[in-house]
């Protein structure tokens, strides 16, 4: 503090570059890691072809969309443990509806599925707000309910979809090296998330997660922000389920099971803070690819999938411990 008479000092001058790096450091590191991983992949498998890239993108697509779904809720300082179940619902709903449809119908049905899942997400959100039960508990309970709904739609794996619909994800665009799955992912996120993120409604989601009291004082409708977050989660879970359908060509009521936990793991790796208010979608997208790439590399190297699981889990644990350490050192200054 300066002596009397001086005007108040503004914040200490900091170069904008340093500031931007500090804010986006994690995301940048994740993409660097992804790049390194690709180098490693090509080094280890010189015959890594466009086909492999396509498989990678296809495999990563549902997981990436699940991560986006979870991230939307976590930004608002919430959590959704029913994402996996919602994905199952979307999967079986799509597969059972599209089984005898032609391509143009299937597109309309896909839109319907997305709408239905958005409503499902809204239902989650409404229950959380009206019952005032913590979101962990509500979404935990709803994961049972939505699993049941999936089982009601299709009690056994079945259903189908027209091949052109599947090709939306399994095909490639213009060159064999640009998988549709990647384009689909980027387009979905860009069209739906980006416009929301920069407008007050998206900012209100982050505001609610960062400091709900300050948000209220700023005049933000916290209830509307949270409902929007859960609706977005439903939407992207729906998208992930559609991606699964495109992947497998069928519906399985148990398909979504493990997506919830891996979605959480993915967004944490992608730099999203579980306490809310911080992070973006870019990080989780890269993290989803990293996890998928590690997985496929290990398969290629002949490592048993169990080892792969150990490695994935260990990486996650080490990464978050490093993150925790960094946060500790920052706050000790």
């Amino acid at each position: 503090m300066t002596s009397s008479g001086a005007t108040v000092a503004g914040p200490p001058p900091v170069s904008l570059t340093r500031h931007l790096i500090a804010r986006n450091g994690w995301t940048i590191s994740v993409y660097v890691l992804l790049g390194l991983l690709f180098f490693f992949t090509f080094a280890v498998n010189p015959r890594f072809s466009a086909y492999d890239l396509r498989s990678l993108a296809l495999g990563a697509l549902p997981a990436a969309l699940a991560a986006v779904a979870e991230a939307a809720v976590v930004f608002a300082a919430g959590i959704d443990l029913s994402v996996g179940a919602l994905i199952s619902v979307s999967n079986v709903l799509a597969a059972s509806l599209m089984v005898n449809a032609d391509f143009s119908h299937s597109l309309g049905l896909a839109a319907f599925v997305l709408a239905a899942l958005t409503v499902a997400g809204l239902i989650n959100g409404l229950i959380i707000i009206v019952s005032r039960v913590p979101d962990i508990v509500v979404t935990l309970a709803m994961s049972f309910v939505w699993s049941g709904v999936a089982l009601m739609i299709l009690s056994q794996p079945g259903g189908g979809a027209p091949p052109e619909f599947l090709a939306l994800a399994t095909g490639t665009f213009m060159t064999p090296w640009v998988p549709n799955a990647l384009i689909l992912l980027v387009v979905m996120v860009a069209i739906v998330w980006l416009p929301i993120r920069s407008r007050p409604i998206g900012l209100s989601i982050f505001a609610t997660g960062s400091d709900p009291q300050a948000a209220m004082r700023s005049g933000v409708n916290v209830v509307r922000a949270r409902l929007s977050a859960y609706a977005l989660c439903g939407f992207f879970s729906g998208a992930a389920g559609l991606a699964l359908t495109m992947n497998t060509g069928a519906g399985d009521p148990l398909s979504g099971g493990f997506f919830t936990l891996t979605a959480i793991a993915t967004i944490v790796l992608g730099g999203v803070s579980l306490t809310g208010g911080r992070g973006g979608m870019l990080g989780p997208l890269a993290a989803a690819y990293i996890l998928a790439l590690i997985s496929s590399d290990l398969i290629f190297l002949g490592v048993s999938p169990s080892y792969g699981q150990v490695i994935q889990g260990t990486i996650m644990v080490l990464v978050v411990m490093a993150g925790g350490l960094a946060a500790l050192r920052r706050s000790a200054k």
Partner: protein, 508 residues
């Protein structure tokens, strides 16, 4: 403070008979406030008098059970912050309403506040060149408060409400804000100024509404030097200045014992540069300082909350290094923090709160001797006269009682050196007196006390000696007898004190 009659005419804001109950608890009984156009009107009241409830109703966060609010003669129902804004009210709350993780630019986009308007007000307030791409959490608190004010002003309100806004501001910035507000009101706009600080209220308010027990106790024109009028209304008794009452119970006395706690050349963070002090048995040593001069870091180091970057701490003559508060506590050094929220377990009982240090080591994790613990706790509660009626959870107690619980904790567990960091912040006058009296008693029975208080006028009531900290180092040391508010204020600003007082002066 007088303004020509022409600009202060019709009432612009009239609050009549406002009432609010929370279940059986009466937060507001019948509050009446009248603010004229162009007037700067203060609202004061002790804790629990209903100030914060009144503000919440005015800002649309809470709905009243009875009463009316009229703006420019029209009765308005304010059901949300948005409606408050539409009614022409803009508020700067006690805590910043900027979202920490969003950049300034995003914050203003969130509330649809045009950035140029905010910048204009920032310039008027002397804050230039703030980069809007910086996240709010990376800015100092004073800057955030100024931004809150700028944003409120940018909404072009008829009535500006400031709720304890100056608490976090350094003195020079407060002056700038007041000056600017004086100019602002010339356009016929009004200010509602809620504050604990008598000095600020006297400085800028034309009239003050004093609340007591949920109702308006009176409306006063504040006069510098006649603040006891206001205090009397707040307390509801014929006023005896806080000063006389306390000093008559137990006068300060010189302790000439050895130092129990000593700091030598302590350095920590950016704010604490070089502080040396000695706290002796049977003595209360006061620390006087303006905001952010390093006193927080000083106390944190002494209590083991943080590591000093340089210098030494000695307990009873031996150099000690505290890894964490447990180390300090083992040496008999205990801390009472300013923020009660930091010290209390809200959902637990008074008993568990007071007995917390008794289980703080693994060797104490076994079965508790409930009878013995109960006795120790009860003793402390009685001595402090803590009101525990019908309260099984600490969160339902008043602020003053809660603070007493944090003190009772150490009474029950024992200590040699007590560190009090602003123990009476936000506490009503009655409890303040009690706490000061207790501190003097503790010193008289052999404890060493180091106390920091932001209320310079109260230093003389409780301390034997005073050190003044400015810019991270000690710039003055004197006995309490000569440590009147004027002297302290000058020294605390880094200016040489008047002749006649013992000091080691420093020129800024």
């Amino acid at each position: 403070m007088t303004v020509s009659g022409a600009t202060m005419s019709e009432p612009i804001l009239e609050i009549r008979g406002l009432a609010k109950n929370y279940g059986p608890v009466v937060a507001l009984r019948s509050a009446d406030v009248m603010v004229r156009a162009g007037e700067q009107h203060g609202i004061m009241g002790a804790n629990g008098a209903g100030k914060s409830t009144l503000v919440k109703i005015l800002t649309g966060v809470v709905r009243p059970d009875a009463g009316t609010i009229s703006v420019r003669g029209q009765v308005r129902a304010i059901r949300s912050p948005t409606e408050a804004r539409r009614a022409g009210l803009a508020t700067v709350y006690q805590e910043s309403s900027l979202i920490p993780d969003l950049t300034l630019e995003q914050n203003f986009r969130l509330t649809r506040t045009p950035l140029p308007a905010v910048r204009r007000w920032l310039d008027e307030l002397g804050l230039h060149g703030v980069d809007a791409r910086i996240a709010a959490r990376d800015l100092p608190l004073a800057t955030l408060r100024v931004l809150d004010l700028a944003r409120a002003l940018a909404a072009d309100p008829q009535i500006l409400i400031l709720d304890e806004m100056t608490a976090a501001l350094p003195a020079d910035l407060t002056e700038t804000v007041f000056r600017m507000l004086g100019q602002w009101r010339e356009s016929g706009r009004s200010l509602v100024f809620i504050s604990h600080r008598l000095a600020d209220i006297s400085a800028i308010c034309d009239g003050v509404t004093v609340l007591r027990d949920g109702a308006t106790a009176g409306v006063v024109e504040p006069v510098r030097g006649r603040e006891d009028q206001i205090v009397a209304l707040m307390l509801g008794t014929v006023s005896r200045p806080v000063g006389a009452a306390v000093s008559s119970t137990e006068g300060p006395h010189e302790g000439s014992q050895a130092a129990v706690l000593e700091a030598r050349g302590l350095r920590a963070g950016a704010a604490l540069r070089d502080v040396s002090l000695e706290v002796r048995r049977g003595e209360v040593l006061g620390v006087a300082a303006l905001e952010g001069q390093g006193q927080q870091e000083l106390f944190d180091c002494l209590a083991g909350v943080r590591h000093p970057d340089g210098g030494e701490i000695l307990v009873e003559g031996r150099v000690r290094s505290f890894r964490d508060p447990q180390d300090a506590i083992r040496q008999g050094v205990v801390l009472i923090p300013a923020d009660r929220a930091q010290a209390l377990l809200r959902l637990r009982s008074v008993q568990e709160n007071v007995a917390l240090p008794m289980v703080n080591r693994p060797s104490r994790w076994g079965l508790i001797n409930v009878a013995r613990e109960g006795r120790q706790v009860l003793q402390a509660i009685r001595r402090l006269e803590i009101d525990t009626r019908a309260q099984s959870e600490v969160r339902r107690m008043s602020g003053g009682n809660q603070q007493k619980v944090t003190i009772a904790r150490w009474l029950a567990s024992g200590f040699k050196t007590l560190l009090c960091f602003d123990p009476t912040r936000g506490i009503d006058i009655g409890t303040k007196r009690q706490i000061y009296g207790l501190v003097r008693e503790l010193a008289a029975s052999g404890a060493a006390v180091l106390i920091f208080t932001s209320e310079l006028s109260e230093i003389q009531l409780v301390c034997d000696r005073v050190i003044v900290v400015f810019d991270g180092s000690v710039v003055g040391e004197m006995s309490a007898g000569v440590a009147d508010e004027a002297t302290l204020l000058r020294t605390a600003h880094g200016l040489a004190a008047e002749r006649g007082s013992a000091f080691t002066g420093a020129v800024s």
